[in-house]
């Protein structure tokens, strides 16, 4: 059996108790996406300000368990200031960390340089608790909706 410490790392509890980038941004100009986990009732809204090159600000609001809330907090820290391509790369790395492929299906482990991950590495233990993976991915899947939307806009501008 996995110990609780594998799941509830200190960094996770810290981000749960002291959430970063919590709140909302004015829409528009911000982009907003909402996510729900029908299984447990968790809800999240992600707000992104994008200046055409980088994510200049990101906020999240909602309710959920410690894994869901801390994952949202860690994610906003990880992608703030990044380009869309860089944000996609971060999403990909996060999914690998949870042993998921890009579609979110279970996949074989891929080697990851944990040192480059920073605090995000704390979420690695979640992969050992299958019932909690949906908690950890909620914020990321919701953020992906905005990334997809921004990608479409970029494609449209290049046409």
């Amino acid at each position: 059996m996995q110990g609780l410490e594998d799941l509830y790392r200190e960094i996770i509890l810290d981000h749960y108790k002291n959430p970063r980038n919590s709140g909302t941004l004015e829409v528009p100009p911000a982009h907003q996406a909402d996510g729900y986990n029908p299984l447990c009732g968790d809800e999240i809204s992600i707000y992104v300000n994008y200046d055409g090159e980088r994510i200049t600000d990101i906020k999240n609001s909602g309710q959920g368990c410690s894994i869901s809330r801390s994952s949202a907090s860690l994610m906003t820290n990880a992608v703030k200031g990044k380009t869309i391509a860089e944000a996609r790369e971060t999403i990909k790395t996060f999914k690998r960390l949870l042993l998921l492929d890009e579609e979110g299906e279970k996949s074989e482990p891929v080697e990851i340089d944990l040192r480059k991950l920073g605090e995000l590495a704390a979420l690695q233990g979640v992969s050992k608790f299958p019932a909690r993976i949906k908690c950890a991915t909620l914020a990321w899947n919701t953020f992906t909706q905005i990334v997809d939307e921004l990608d479409l806009q970029i494609d449209g501008a290049n046409d």
């Binding site: 609780l4 299984l39 009732g41 959920g64």
Partner: protein, 414 residues
């Protein structure tokens, strides 16, 4: 099976020896019977015995095995019907997949045969989704109006104004016991007012039948749904009971084998009760398993099962409240005599999902989530609760394990 009563009280240790899950999971504190109970050996043996010695399709063949299978299936129906007090157990006891399917049968059949655009159907804010969504579907498809009996802060139905709410209603459908709050509703009183207003009365007894004696003749309902797997039976089997005069008038729900007496190119004639509502090869082994579960409950006695439920509901409320006071919010009636089966709570500062995770490390199994009752959760102002639910194999040691694990949870997170 062993003798399980001592002075009319359930001997939990002996009951547990009837349920192999406990021997196979040492130290388990299973507190999720509200989601699904465990099964005694005699249910498993009845199903295996059927498959090993008597399996054939029912109501079809003239050969010996087919007759044995039909006899076992119909005998289970009779026993289950008698268990709930049906006047005509063989005609009024309809097998379904679960309560959800039984309630969908009711809504669809009434929607086809009785309800028109603008008709009023009254339910309550504490219903399981299974008694909300089928009516909302009718609202979408034929334009019925769905109205709700409200719930107060104590988790009880507000019925001061009941006569006005049910006035003109064609159907009043409500739960006998809330799966979230454990509230036992004043079903019979509501049914009387609803009947006086001319409504068909439907009861969701999924959480009631596992713990309390039901007498469908006197409870005031026209239709009652419940499920097998919460009362020691297998999954995949539920029951719809109905007054035969009403069932006779209701059009069938699913079409196919067994539910017809004749089919021609230009139409069909529905079979008689109960087969009219049992399309396709039924869950034969599951019905036989549920028959054995009812035999098991009868062997213990519903009086003893009910008093055990009352005792453990009171004990759980008092011990958890006593240990945590204002640090815990317990949903539902504060009067333990109005509760049955479960304890829903929110530990201050810890999300229910995290509570359930730490409890699991202590082999205490509880449910965390919205319990398929989102309108009620919104009414309570929470996204989720943790719910400990009990049955005859639970005792004070399980409640103590719950309290200890909750203390550990609090220390871990706060």
């Amino acid at each position: 099976m062993t003798e399980v009563l001592i002075d009319n009280h359930i001997d939990v240790a002996k009951v547990r020896s009837d349920f192999p899950i406990f021997a196979n999971n040492p130290g388990l504190h299973y507190l999720d019977s509200g989601a699904s109970s465990q099964r005694p050996s005699m249910v498993l043996e009845a199903m295996e015995n059927y498959y090993r010695f008597h399996h054939a399709n029912v109501h079809r063949g003239v050969y010996r095995l087919a007759e044995e299978a039909t006899e076992l299936y119909e005998s289970a129906r009779e026993r289950i019907g008698r268990f709930i007090g049906a006047t005509h157990p063989g005609r009024e006891t309809i097998f379904s997949k679960n309560s959800t399917e039984a309630l969908n049968l009711v809504a669809n059949s009434l929607g086809r045969g009785f309800l028109r655009q603008g008709d009023k159907v009254v339910i309550t804010k504490m219903e399981h989704h299974a008694n909300i969504v089928p009516w909302q579907m009718l609202a979408q498809y034929i334009g019925i109006q769905v109205e709700f009996i409200d719930v107060d802060d104590e988790g009880e139905l507000i019925i001061d104004d009941l006569e006005r709410i049910v006035d003109g209603a064609k159907v009043v459908s409500l739960t006998l016991t809330s799966n979230v709050l454990g509230t036992v509703t004043p079903f019979t009183g509501i049914a009387q007012v609803a009947k006086a207003a001319g409504a068909i009365v439907v009861g969701d007894a999924s959480q009631f039948v596992p713990h309390r004696q039901i007498d469908v003749k006197s409870i005031g309902a026209d239709l009652i749904a419940f499920t097998g797997h919460k009362m020691f039976g297998p999954t995949g089997i539920g029951v719809l009971w109905g007054r035969s005069e009403l069932l006779d008038q209701m059009p069938p729900f699913l079409g196919g084998g067994d539910m017809i007496s004749d089919v021609r190119l230009d139409g069909f004639v529905a079979n008689e009760l109960p087969y009219k509502f049992e399309a396709g090869t039924p869950p034969i082994a599951e019905a036989i398993g549920l028959g054995a579960a009812v035999d098991y409950m009868n062997s213990i006695g519903m009086d003893a099962i009910e008093s055990h439920d009352r005792e453990i509901s009171r004990l759980a409320y008092e011990k958890v409240k006593g240990a945590f006071g204002d640090e815990i919010k317990i949903f539902g009636p504060s009067d333990p005599s109005k509760r049955s089966g479960c304890l829903s709570f929110e530990l201050e500062g810890v999300h229910p999902h995290d509570v359930a995770q730490v409890l699991d490390q202590n082999l205490v199994n509880v449910r965390a989530g919205h319990h398929c009752a989102k309108p009620l959760m919104r009414h309570l102002g929470v996204a989720a609760t943790a719910r400990a639910s009990f049955h005859i194999y639970n005792d004070e040691a399980d409640v103590d394990a719950l309290v200890d694990a909750l203390k550990e949870t609090r220390n871990f997170f706060i």
